[in-house]
Amino acid sequence: MSIKAVNLTHIYGEGTAFEQYALRDVNFEIEDGQFIGLIGHTGSGKSTLIQHLNGLLKATSGELYYNGENIYAPGYDMKALRSKVGLVFQYPEHQLFEVDVFSDVCFGPKNQGLKKEEVEERARKALELVGLDESFYAQSPFELSGGQKRRVAIAGVLAMDPEVLILDEPTAGLDPKGRDEILGQLERLHRDRGMTIILVSHSMEDIARYADRLIVMNHGEKVFDDTPRNVFRSYKELESMGLAAPQVTYIVQALRREGIPIDDSLITVEEARDAILSMVGLKTGRTEKKQNA
């Protein structure tokens, strides 16, 4: 079970003077249960890419397989694909439209043609997953706080019971607490329900903390596809693309330049702290594992 892209290419304005490659020969395979970070500066093609994965955009050339089936084959059920690959756009709260939270979350499953009881069951579950209890059901989505609105919008996609969840900068504009709440919920969805998550983000710190694989896009091409640790080792190449590694990477690299042989794959504050302390003979008693939110 996977998403597989083969030579995926997308050209805007093909045949005109404004012809521009948004994607050029992108290849990858995403297996079930991965937590993938997708980064690239504005205009690198990452937004175009995720819209291909649920069939909203069609590739100019190349193929895309979902669970082994070619989604561009004649007669392929795009609507079914969209409910299996859930896509949460940037500022998803801008898509809310119903009079109350509960009805809004019901919109997706209702479009799937499910029975009323099933629709409501799905909505209840989805709202629970994003941490909104029954007291929110009857409220107008427009009177909630920014972070709550966003969670309702994410629930609206989760209610379609997707196997893969793609989120385009789900934390944009939120404060640190709101950001940690959303990312924590994604982490739980991934851990407890084995959901495949693709997280588009500008924050290397967030990627370092949550993702186990990192894809970097630049000028429509895939330039890196590896664990975050390995990708961040190439911080110089990242900088040449207008990106950067987490601050910790820079600290570690600077220490190594000073002749201190610290492991260069450390990417979170906790890892760096523990490594430094153990090098000077102090132990913290805490584990070196990634800290979970």
């Binding site: 640190p176 607490k177 709101g178 601050q247 600290i251 201190i260 702290r273 302390l277 000077v280």
Partner: protein, 290 residues
């Protein structure tokens, strides 16, 4: 007395039902007193709903105090007769780059403020030229705002305020909707204005890395001022900041954690070089050879 002075400021958002009856009162600012010196770069931090944006609107006279006073260059914001002078003195840049650009061409948008102030045509051109130069957007003066990146749009918005020749600029989360490069671009521009043009800057944000170079950092929570000091002082209180739902840059957090564990590293570390200059000698000396 400073350019911005708030005394026991209280502001309530009043919710009314259909019959104009008061349904609920939401206290956004709760007894805030503050004095900001002319020419300084002050950052106000706080999570969403801490009252920081409401305060910004008080300074510009968009909202009037429920109780207490706000004085801008000695002018009371509740004094209707001074409202335009106050807005001219304390210009405001908002969060959403799209929703504050009025003109269809960059230079015309920058000219919008001076036009409203009744500045003569030649003087408008002079101010527009200077303002665009100050934010580094001269090359884009004839472009449509829709063709610019988020960071560029915010720089145009800043130029629009500069053209009114303010003494002070208030920026209400100007980088919240931008990508990292756009964010840096805007913060760099604001620092340059502060340094070169001696403009007082009041930067409201929740990104901690943007306030490292400020002269003074104020933290708001629940409508109150809860922390006030230099970045170094504020950043040395990591636990407290986290309690106010704020974050510190990774370098500051690492330094804090190491200091907590007993390493001789100071707590209010702001830059990587600072951390390295303290950490490297210590590690070279105390490293356990494996």
């Amino acid at each position: 007395m400073g350019i911005i002075k708030a005394v026991n400021l209280i502001f309530d958002y009043i919710k009314r039902d259909e019959d104009e009856q008061i349904e609920g009162v939401d206290r956004a600012i709760d007894g805030l007193s503050l004095d900001i010196q002319e020419g300084s770069f002050v950052a106000i931090l706080g999570h969403n709903g801490s009252g920081k944006s409401t305060f910004a609107k008080q300074v510009n006279g968009i909202l009037a105090p429920t109780e207490g006073t706000v004085l801008i260059s000695g002018m009371d914001t509740r004094d209707e007769g001074h409202i335009w002078d106050i807005r001219k003195t304390a210009g405001m840049v908002f969060q959403n780059p799209d929703n504050q650009i009025i003109g269809n061409i960059v230079e015309e948008d920058v000219g919008f403020g001076p036009e409203n102030l009744g500045v003569p045509t030649e003087e408008i051109w002079k101010r527009v030229d200077e303002s665009l130069e100050a934010v580094g957007m001269t090359a884009y003066r004839l472009k449509s705002p829709n063709k610019l990146s988020g960071g560029q749009k915010q720089r145009v918005a800043i130029a629009g305020v500069m053209a009114m020749r303010p003494k002070c600029i208030i920026l209400d989360e100007p980088t919240a909707m931008l990508d990292p490069n756009g964010r840096k671009e805007v913060i760099r521009t604001v620092h340059e204005l502060n340094r070169r043009e001696k403009i007082t800057v009041l930067l409201i944000t929740h990104y901690m890395e943007e306030v490292v170079d400020a002269d003074r950092v104020i933290v708001m929570d629940d409508g109150k001022l809860v922390m006030d000091g230099t970045p170094r002082e504020i950043f040395s209180r990591v636990r407290e900041l986290k309690q106010y739902r704020l974050d510190v840059p990774q370098v500051t957090e690492l330094a804090y954690e190491l200091a907590e564990a007993g390493l001789p590293v100071s707590r209010g570390i702001l830059t990587m070089d600072e951390l390295l200059s303290q950490l490297v000698p210590y590690m070279k000396e105390h490293r356990i050879c494996r």
